[in-house]
Amino acid sequence: MRALDLKLFRDLWHMRGQVLAIAAVIMGGVATMVMSLSTYDSLTTTRDRFYGEYRFAEVFAGLKRAPEPVAERLAAIPGVEVLETRVKAGVKLEVEGFSDPITGLILSLPDTGEAQLNRVHLKRGRNVQPWSADEVVLSDTFADAHRFQPGDRLAAIIHGKKKTLTVVGVAVSPEYVYQIAPGSMFPDFKRYGVLWMGRSALAAAYDMEGAFNDVSLTLARDAREQDVIDRVDAVLAAYGGTGAYGREDQFSNRFLSEELKQLQTMATVFPAIFLGVAAFLLNIVLSRLIALQRDQIAILKAFGYSYFAIGSHYVKLVLLMAVLGVAAGLALGAWFGQGLAHVYTETTFRFPYLDYQLRPVVALIALAVAAFAAVSGTLVSVMRAVRLPPAEGMRPEMPVAYRTSLVERLGLARWLAAPSRMVLRHIGRHPLKSLLTVLGIACACGLMMVGNYQKGAIDFMVDVQFRQASREDLGLAFIEPTSGRALHELAALPGVDHVEGFRDVPAILRFGQYRHRAAIFGIQPEGQLHRSLDSALQPVAVPPGGVVLTDHLANEILHVKPGDLLTVEVLEGSRPVLQVPVLGITKQYLGVSAYMQQDSLNELMREGNTVSGAYLAVQPGTEARLYADLHERPRVLGMVANKSAIQSFYATIGEFILFYNLVATLLAGAIGFGVVYNSARIALSERGRELASLRVLGFTRGEIAYILLGELALLTLAAIPVGFVVGVALVGILVVAFQSELYRLPLLLTPENYAMGAAVVIVSALLSGLLLWHRLGRLDLVAVLKTRE
């Protein structure tokens, strides 16, 4: 068996170009899988550890104000394990040298000792000193965005009063892994910050001395979450409670969960597509490669090697190639995975550490899939070769029976010289092989389209969201619901072109067993700034007397259709429970929303013309002045400027997706080149003798290149439209798989997507053609005269 093993390594060395190309295909598939799964595993593990170590609470509740002794009644509720009260204050922040509006949230820390729940992890500096009056710890996203260091100062407008704060530390919290301003679509680290401050200092500034307005708790082992929530709500009803909720509805956790769900889908769908295509290609390439070894198999049989010995020889050969590819894929995937996880934790989700995880089972799956694809592709060819009697195997293969091609039968033959006929007949004679080559190249083209599809889709979503639906320049929220008359004041401010008020009411929407916690937005039916869109993305007016839901909320979350009655549990004021008819469904790619006419919503809430905030159209160039004006107004709590929201989106989530795309594109490129080069290289092996004979007969290198490369070119061209179809289908799978509360991708492919798909195939074909051109120059003409194969 040792001689056979030597042959194995010599063969591998001899075919090193092809071995590398095959390994590249496997590597592309495996790397995608390892990268995605390890990122998902890492983030999940990190999250679980962070939540555990820093005692992330399990139930949360907000309220207007309750005296501290109420906490004892809450703690006495059966099923409550640990309970902690806090003061939580929405504020406006001022940072020197930055004129845009900044919204902030200050949370209290116990004056002495460590927090029981939702502990912060200090990354730099120290904790707030007991009883200190002006010290704060900043969330790291905000601190990093403004380059705050311990010792720096900033100002906060708390309860209408300006207070200067000193930064002593920078921290992350399990409660704010994902930080996003209320009413914002994307995180914006420069314009939204979370701060922690000593309880007594914050209470003094926020008029909460001896009281609290925020509760978090953990549950005893066998407690039912809903029971505890109901009892907490009952206690807090008298204190303006806005409804207790579990982790599932906790803002940061909900986004993190949704995002991880997305990532899990990505980690399943992308690798399934990549590895599936790679396996398919591997199978094709190897079966053809083994078919070329027909005579050697015959000789081995003649020597007396058993079927098993020969079979295992070739299985070993392809397994070595597969292992090479898997090893490269694991290394590359782990490297990309670490990069990706870091991009994730630097741009969007903040953790104090990252536990990078590459589970052995991921590597084993990769190895198993690659090995199965390689071995199954090999065995079919080996079996076919082994079944021949040795003498027949060693004889030259019978000339394959050719016939005239369809093109010629159509009467076009007179325009075709012999080389063109050879191309056409060769394709026609091996329809299956040609079809598989076309399919293989098409898959590479499709993969490339999937790889870079998301960028165009995201541009489109952002365009629809901000140029069709939310067209306001600035959205602002009042500290509490306010009379609609306040809008006149806003409209009179210099630089304001147009104002539309809105009312938003936090509520739980229920239909049958389905529920969703969200706000109902009351908007203007004929609004110019904030509009709802129909399925053709045209603005439609919200009808009076009912609610209009975005498609994902209606179809996938609540399972309602127009005409159904929705139960709305309002979480504000007297907290009425209402029955509201669903009047329509609107199209929205980002987030989910429920819309009503503002008048109808006011009527439901039994209030007059009341608004929660306003959308503003602002004259360009007047923003800084306007921001300053608004900042001075105590009733204006927060502002979100759309332009900066879009910019921050591209800087955060966008960066992550683009990183993923870049990697996917590179891997698709590697697979594409592997396939095209192998197809061409095998064609050369299969036809080298024929081409060398023609050279001996006086054909030039250019003329025989035409025969070989002409076929490759024809198949490549045929593969491109097929590849477009494959690409659209793969993107379709992705779109369906990626539907989530955060966003739904549109099935939209840009001309660039098609161009990239075609380009990877064409460039691969050109490169392969160039490599073959050199090989054609080295064809052994003398050998052709003597050897038969």
Partner: protein
């Protein structure tokens, strides 16, 4: 009987060829002086390893000698570029291989046409095939022809461009004796009717009787050159 005044086609002087196989040098030709004339039928005879194929390859422009010179008419083949050698093969040389080397995807007629399409003043492919007795099998693909028929197509392909020289490397090597004789008859006919210098490699001494001259090679040298006073015709041969 090559008259001394007949015009020479190939003139080789002091040809040597050394192959380097790894660390071993193999001396394939050790100084060959040879002149081949228009219209003669020459058999190169010798055991394997005697250098006859190397000599044929050098004459056909497929290989370059290590030393010495070869002239085809007034062209010097030694030192010619790859492109020049390709043109030389294309315009002047017809090859016949032991294993026919037909293009399986082309019919008999088209296999011949593949060469005539790139030649300067070729015969019609149909005429070339008629010459080898295959006028009725023009549109058959190689898979539909017997080995002898395939070899005759290969000969038709080689002669269709009206080459000055026809080089045949063991043309009957893969055929049984009866079929081989048919192929030799075709070569003989081509040589007689077209006057093409025909060089035929064989290790089968029986075939030598149909040659004008028999050149016996041994160990890279010309052992002897014998002119047949009386040529046998191919159908008289057997082995």
């Amino acid at each position: 009987m090559p008259a001394e005044q007949a015009s020479p086609v190939f003139i080789a002087r002091g040809l040597t060829k050394v192959y380097r196989m790894g660390e071993v040098e193999v001396q394939a030709l050790r100084g060959i002086d040879l002149t081949l004339y228009r219209g003669e039928l020459v058999v190169l005879l010798g055991p394997s390893g005697s250098g006859k194929s190397t000599l044929l390859n050098i004459l056909g422009g497929l290989d370059a000698p290590s030393g010495g010179e070869v002239y085809y008419l007034d062209h010097k083949l030694t030192g010619a570029s790859e492109a020049d050698l390709t043109r030389f093969r294309r315009e002047h040389v017809g090859f016949v291989f032991q294993f026919y080397n037909l293009i399986p995807s082309l019919t008999a007629r088209e296999n011949v046409a593949a060469v005539t399409e790139i030649a300067e003043s070729p015969m019609r492919p149909e005429d070339a095939l008629a010459l080898v007795g295959l006028g009725s099998r023009l549109d058959h693909f190689p898979a539909q022809l017997s080995g002898g028929e395939q070899q005759r197509v290969a000969i038709a392909r080689a002669v269709a461009k009206n080459p000055a020289v026809l080089l045949c490397d063991e043309p009957t090597g893969a055929l049984d004796s009866a079929t081989g004789v048919v192929v030799l008859e075709v070569l003989e006919k081509v040589n007689r009717e077209l006057g093409t210098l025909t060089v035929l490699i064989t290790h089968n001494a029986g075939i030598a009787d149909m040659a004008d001259r028999v050149i016996r090679l041994s160990d890279g040298h010309i052992a002897d050159i014998r002119s047949n006073a009386v040529k046998k015709s191919a159908h008289e041969l057997s082995w």
